[in-house]
């Protein structure tokens, strides 16, 4: 059965990590066609063609597809949908924006944040901030779904799939891009980093978040934050880990000054090794930590930074 995977293309580049993890889910369902759409997408298409398991790459370039605006992107995919039983994308904010729109245009339900493929109609997905796992069987003709990347391994490369160029759909002209505010950083990307160091309200200020960043840099880690830290202005929104932020599953997650609310745990409890540093020995974060250290982060974290490496 034919599967359409929507590649994660940002400013003309393919996000290989997110796309190749969703590809692993896609190849369990059938022969995969990978779509790269954007104002420029040819280079992304060439990268996509190297991913193992891709049978064909479709490249759609059009100014209307820049910035992944929902309406023109959905129009493009709906035009292609007839050929496919499954339409997938990695669970990024771009895909969460567009995939439900595609599903509704096809009069089918969306399967959000799929964490396991049971068979071609049956999937697992977390509900209630990951406190329950639901197995659902879809009766829809086309399954439209987003794939939680933290639970699938990345597909390999070395492939050279054929690339076909296709036209964009007519732009409904309902929305326009104005600007992006993207923080430039040399650190690894949060959702694909091998190590994540996160700070919470306990860190106390934007200034003191430097302590967290210092430890992260020592470990070559990405920096994360709790919602309380983001809301208090200590950290930018794209660092938020949790039910309504990013879901991460690094080899090592260090939670500093974070109490461990279920909404936070939802975003990190699948990490391989979890370390918690908190001055409150009763903090719920210790219940999920492999190693817990009770102490004041202002002394513990600098000491840890110094002694590592």
């Amino acid at each position: 059965m034919a599967v359409l995977l929507i590649g994660e293309v940002t400013n003309g580049e393919l996000n290989v990590d997110a796309t190749s993890k969703a590809l692993t889910a896609a190849t369990q369902l059938g022969e995969v066609t990978l779509l790269c759409a954007g104002a420029s997408a040819a280079a992304a298409g060439e990268t996509a063609a190297t991913l193992a398991g891709v049978a064909k790459v479709l490249v759609a370039e059009d100014p209307s597809l820049g910035h992944r605006l929902a309406e023109p992107t959905a129009a493009l995919v709906v035009g292609l949908a007839g050929d496919y039983k499954h339409i997938l994308a990695p669970s990024t904010t771009d895909a969460k924006n567009v995939m439900p729109r595609i599903a509704a245009l096809l009069d089918v339900m969306i399967l959000s944040d799929v964490t396991a493929v049971v068979d071609a109609d049956t999937f697992e997905r977390p509900i209630y901030a990951g406190n329950a796992i639901q197995t659902v069987k879809s009766s829809d003709a086309t399954k439209v779904m987003t794939i939680r990347t933290s639970t699938f391994d990345a597909a390999g490369d070395g492939n050279s799939a054929p690339i076909e160029t296709i036209a964009a759909a007519e732009n409904p002209g309902l929305s326009e891009w104005v600007e992006d505010k993207v923080a430039e950083s040399d650190r690894p990307e949060l959702t694909s980093a091998g190590v994540v160091v996160s700070g919470g309200r306990g860190v106390g200020s934007e200034e003191d978040f430097k302590i967290i960043e210092g430890l992260a840099d020592k470990l070559g880690a990405a920096v994360g934050a709790s919602r309380a830290a983001v809301d208090s202005g200590y950290a930018p929104n794209d660092w938020q880990v949790g039910q309504t932020g990013k879901v991460v599953a690094p080899d090592l997650y260090i939670a500093v000054g974070i109490s461990g609310a279920i909404q936070h745990l939802a975003g990190m409890k699948d990490s391989k090794v979890i370390v918690a540093i908190n001055k409150d020995e009763e903090a719920p974060i210790f219940q999920v930590a492999d190693y817990g250290l009770v102490g004041d982060l202002f002394t513990v974290v600098p000491e840890l930074t110094e002694k590592l490496g």
């Binding site: 339900m109 959000s112 209630y128 639901q134 929104n237 309504t244």
Partner: protein
């Protein structure tokens, strides 16, 4: 301009969810239920638009069990003007899927003709993050999801969105559907006098059949299970021990 705000009755976010032993679902009998936190933010934003003179009337809509009228009364007490309850099931354990909710909301919108819909980005029970986008598709309207700032300027709105890379600002044609993220505002608490006043505000009751919508689910729930629990870890006395342990397991 009329603003429509869909509000969902969900398990309170402080309640620890219990999966039923027979795998049939999550126990919702006798647990505290509240308005979905994102929907409180949507109601608050609608009230602020009204206070600024950018909106005239706020209509709150909820779809689900009869008890969702409590959720609507909360919205009315916060400042919504009127409410519509669409009773779609009498079983508290039956969640109405986003596609069916969107179809019912489309029916309401065809009658009410709002200029703006403010919905939550995600219901914290099913974690779908879909209804606003689906509704926008069915209406053929523009959409602006995950909003952290909304400015309505005549025939369009400028919306800042929380995205993976940071923030994105887009300009959308009105009428539009906006789904709100956590940092858009801090919702107010309803005052006691307003809670009393809300009891007298109009609350209409409807059924899915009034809008010609079939709410039969497309996704059959085969089973609901507990996630794998992490095994208990250990407490370490100091940084040196922590570093040694991390080296031992190859984590650093």
């Amino acid at each position: 301009m009329k603003v429509l705000v869909p509000v969902k009755r969900v398990i309170d976010y402080n309640v620890k969810v219990r999966v039923k032993a027979d795998g049939s679902g999550v126990d919702l009998a006798n647990v505290k239920m509240s308005m979905n936190p994102f929907d409180e933010i949507a109601v608050e934003e609608a009230i602020r638009l009204k206070e600024k003179g950018a909106a005239e009337e706020i209509v709150a809509v909820s779809i689900g069990v009869k008890q969702a009228q409590e959720t609507l009364r909360t919205a009315l007490a916060m400042g919504a003007d009127r409410a519509i309850l669409v009773v779609a099931t009498d079983d508290v354990h039956q969640d109405i899927e986003p596609l069916a909710v969107a179809k019912i909301l489309k029916g309401v919108i065809d009658e009410e003709q709002p200029g703006l819909v403010l919905a939550g980005k995600q219901a914290i029970d099913n974690d779908m993050n879909a209804t606003g986008q689906m509704l926008s598709a069915l209406l053929g309207w523009s959409q602006a999801t995950f909003a952290s700032e909304v400015n309505v300027e005549g025939d369009h709105a400028v919306v800042t969105r929380e995205v993976d890379g940071g923030l994105q600002t887009i300009k959308v044609k009105m009428p539009t559907i906006v789904t709100v993220d956590l940092r858009l505002n801090e919702p107010r608490y309803a005052s006691l006098p307003n809670i009393m006043k809300a009891k007298k505000k109009p609350l209409d009751e409807k059924t899915p059949a009034d809008y010609g919508v079939d709410v039969a689910p497309r996704l059959e729930i085969v089973k609901t299970s507990e996630p794998e629990a992490r095994k208990a870890g250990e407490m370490v006395p100091d940084v040196d021990t922590l570093v040694a342990k991390l080296k031992e397991v190859g984590a650093v």
